[in-house]
Structure formats: structure tokens, C-alpha cells
């Protein structure tokens, strides 16, 4: 790892100011960034730690019933604190990596990174959540822009994420046991005005909504409603852990399991 200057601001304003410097990068829990820096795939001149900013941490329920989670809140805290408010989200957070990773890794870091096999992007897109940054609000449908790519500008930081709470939801993760990420993960949320299905781990384009499945489930909310639907294997990830066809198949299986879990 190349050396860098380490800054630990205690307010969002100071963090944003520090990130305006040349080659400055935000440090969330470091669970992705530190390994990346060890491999010299990232070499910031300045690392701006967000973990020392109290306003970025914690979970609260807003007036409209949605749940706001500070960007620097760890996976372990989310698993604990939203368990009774949004069980599917708590379940997802509680199955990221392992306990030590969950004690450091943060929701903001996971979303900013947008790993194609990460879990949180599926929850955010599946819930139709709002990503709040230091300068604006970005709807989930606009936030994810392909593998490792998001709508965030240079130096912009996520400050919180607001989740509307669905009537029922489920995250079904097919574990890639070596990395502990999702080989394929499906987050399904059922709201009064419709169903949202978000798929992670599968596509070369990163997390995506499976529109045909949503339409079918809006007509009939049963696993069998999906029996004739297939995602196109062409755009799926194919690697030593699973072929394109295998992942395409898993998308169907995991989505049906998610529906079953919501009934």
C-alpha cells in the first residue's frame, strides 16, 4: 500500500472540504478500500475517514414512516437496529461477510462501491430507497449506473439512505462461499402500489430490476407466476463460480423463493 495523509474530520462540512483536495478519497469501514489499496488498485494522496463523524451514524424513523440510516452506520448496527422495523433489510445486513466485516463495513461504503455482487445495492434498488448525499437526493433507480459505477460526483459523499418500508420483503442470497458475497441475490419488496424485484450478483451491468417479474407478480403474487419467465443469459456474469446460464437460472429460483417467503 502506498502511503497517504490520513484525515479524520468530525463534521460533514469538514469532510467535504477535505475531499475537495487533489486525489482525496473517503474511507468508510475500509473493508473494500483497504484491500484495494494493498493491491495498489487505489492510491489516494489523502484518505478522509468518515467514521469519526457522529451525524453520519445511526438509524432513525422519519415522520412518513421511512427508515433513515446514516452512511457510516455499520452492517452490524443495521442488523441489530432495524430488526423490528424492516426485518428483510436487517437480515440482509446480518448476512454480509462475517461478524468482523460487519463490525467495520458501512452502508455508504457498500453503495458507493457498487460491487456487482454486493448485497446492499439490491436492498436499495428493491426498496426504491433514496440515497442522500451532502448536496442532493438521488433515487435508487438513478443511483446505480453499472458495475462499480454510481451517480456520485467526485468528492460527493453519501450521508444517509432513506428506505420506505414495504408490506412484505425478502432477500434471498445464494452464497458464493469463498468470497461470502452473493453469487446471485434477489431482493423483493411488495408495496401497496406494486412489487419491486432487484437482482445482484448476476449481471455484467451490476444490480438491476427484473421488470418482467415485477409485472407478472403485480398480476398474481405467487411463485408460479414466474414459471415461464427467464432472464437473458447473454448479459449475465460468467466465471469459474458459475456460468451465465447458471446465474440466469438462479435469478428465477431465488426470485421464486423470495415470493414464497413473502406469502
Amino acid at each position: 500500500m502506498y502511503n497517504f495523509e490520513f484525515k479524520s474530520p468530525s463534521t460533514i462540512a469538514d469532510a467535504v472540504a477535505a475531499l475537495a483536495g487533489e486525489d482525496a478519497q473517503a474511507l468508510g469501514g475500509g473493508q473494500t478500500l483497504i484491500p484495494t489499496m494493498k493491491q495498489r488498485l487505489a492510491a489516494p494522496a489523502t484518505l478522509v475517514r468518515l467514521g469519526g463523524i457522529p451525524e453520519l451514524k445511526g438509524v432513525c424513523v422519519e415522520d412518513d414512516g421511512s427508515i433513515a440510516i446514516g452512511a457510516a452506520t455499520t452492517h452490524a448496527t443495521v442488523a441489530r437496529e432495524v430488526a423490528d422495523k424492516y426485518p428483510a433489510l436487517a437480515d440482509l445486513a446480518g448476512h454480509i461477510g462475517d461478524p468482523a466485516v460487519r463490525n467495520r463495513g458501512t452502508i455508504g461504503g457498500s453503495l458507493a462501491n457498487n460491487d456487482p455482487a454486493a448485497c446492499y445495492p439490491a436492498a436499495v434498488l428493491g426498496s426504491g430507497a433514496m440515497v442522500v448525499t451532502n448536496s442532493r437526493q438521488i433515487a435508487a433507480d438513478d443511483f446505480f449506473q453499472g458495475m462499480f459505477t454510481t451517480a456520485l460526483d467526485e468528492g460527493e459523499i453519501i450521508t444517509s439512505v432513506r428506505f420506505p418500508v414495504p408490506q412484505a420483503a425478502s432477500y434471498q442470497k445464494f452464497l458464493q462461499p469463498a468470497s461470502r458475497f452473493a453469487l446471485v441475490g434477489v431482493f423483493l419488496a411488495r408495496f401497496a402500489d406494486g412489487v419491486r424485484v432487484a437482482v445482484t450478483g448476476a449481471s455484467e451491468e451490476g444490480v438491476f430490476r427484473w421488470a418482467e417479474a415485477e409485472q407478472a407478480l403485480n398480476k398474481e403474487f405467487r411463485p408460479d407466476a414466474l414459471m415461464d419467465l427467464r432472464v437473458n443469459p447473454m448479459n449475465m456474469i460468467g466465471d469459474l463460480h458459475g456460468s451465465k446460464e447458471y446465474r440466469a437460472h438462479l435469478v428465477g429460483v431465488m426470485t421464486r423463493r423470495a415470493v414464497q417467503a413473502c406469502i
Binding site: I34, M37, R49, P99, A100, N103
Partner: protein, 161 residues
């Protein structure tokens, strides 16, 4: 160089570190606390697990400066005040929860974090909690058995492996 200060196993320590100095390097190279092992250095194996403010973390995946002001616990601080093995360490010895011993510091630190959170875990809960701690020798059974025994549960029905 920046000065970092923290409490390690109850003692206040400080040292000059670079931004990139890992907590694992600070413990091992600056403080000579080499009980914390570095197996993979990529956040996969869990040999380097220590406690930071009471929570299990992989010290190879955290900067020393991030632990500034924190309370850090390592394997060196686990024994009883009179130097005898604590309940978890003793159970690992009694139930052959280690062979080469490389993974053991991380296993013991993870086990301590688990038992603090969940004093009487089931076998399945122990296995799930140890997801991020890899052992190349034991096949895990005796580690799980040792942790069950350390939690005061009867393990006589679990066959020796």
C-alpha cells in the same frame, strides 16, 4: 508520521505511525504483540481478529490511526490475571481445539466476542459466527466443541473427532 495512542489490554500505549500502518502491524511490529497472527492480509482468514471497543475486527483491514483513542484487546490480554488460561483458552486445550495453532488467536478472540453477545450459543450459531475464521488443520469440530464447553454447556454427547 503521526502519533497514535490507544489502550491495549488495559495499558495506554502510543507510537508514531504512517497513514498506511495497519492495526495488525502496529500491534506486532511496534508493540511486539505477535500473538495477533497475519494469515492472509486480505481480510479473509480471521487469524488477526482483535477487539476494538469490544467488537471483533480484522486488524489487517483497519488502519492503526482508525484505532486512535480506542480500547483494543488482543490474545495477550485474554489470560486470567494470575496468568492461567481463561475459560475459552482452557477449553481449546481440553478439547483439542487447535493443531498448529496459527488460527487460534483469531478463533479465541472471535469466540470471546460471540460469548459476550450470546452466552449460550447453539452449535449452528457458533459455526455461523466463525464464518470469517479459517482453520487449515482441525476441521473445526473441536473448535466448535471447545466453544460450547467454554459456554458451560455439556459437550459429552459430541463425539471426539
Amino acid at each position: 508520521m503521526t502519533q497514535v495512542s490507544m489502550t491495549v489490554n488495559g495499558k495506554t500505549v502510543s507510537g508514531d505511525v504512517e497513514g498506511r500502518t495497519l492495526l495488525s502491524s502496529f500491534l506486532r511490529d511496534h508493540l511486539s504483540l505477535t500473538g495477533t497472527h497475519v494469515g492472509c492480509d486480505t481480510a479473509q482468514c480471521g487469524a488477526c481478529v482483535v477487539h476494538v471497543n469490544g467488537e471483533a475486527v480484522k486488524s489487517c483491514n483497519m488502519l492503526a490511526l482508525e484505532a486512535d483513542g480506542a480500547e483494543v484487546g488482543t490474545i495477550e490480554g485474554q489470560a486470567n490475571p494470575d496468568g492461567s488460561l481463561n475459560v475459552i483458552q482452557q477449553a481449546f486445550q481440553d478439547h483439542h481445539g487447535l493443531q498448529c495453532g496459527f488460527c487460534t488467536p483469531g478463533m479465541v478472540m472471535s469466540a470471546a466476542a460471540l460469548l459476550k453477545e450470546n452466552p449460550r450459543p447453539t452449535e449452528a450459531e457458533i459455526r455461523k459466527y466463525l464464518e470469517g475464521n479459517l482453520c487449515r488443520c482441525t476441521g473445526y469440530h473441536n473448535i466448535v466443541k471447545a466453544i460450547m464447553a467454554a459456554s458451560g454447556q455439556d459437550v459429552s454427547h459430541i463425539a471426539a473427532e
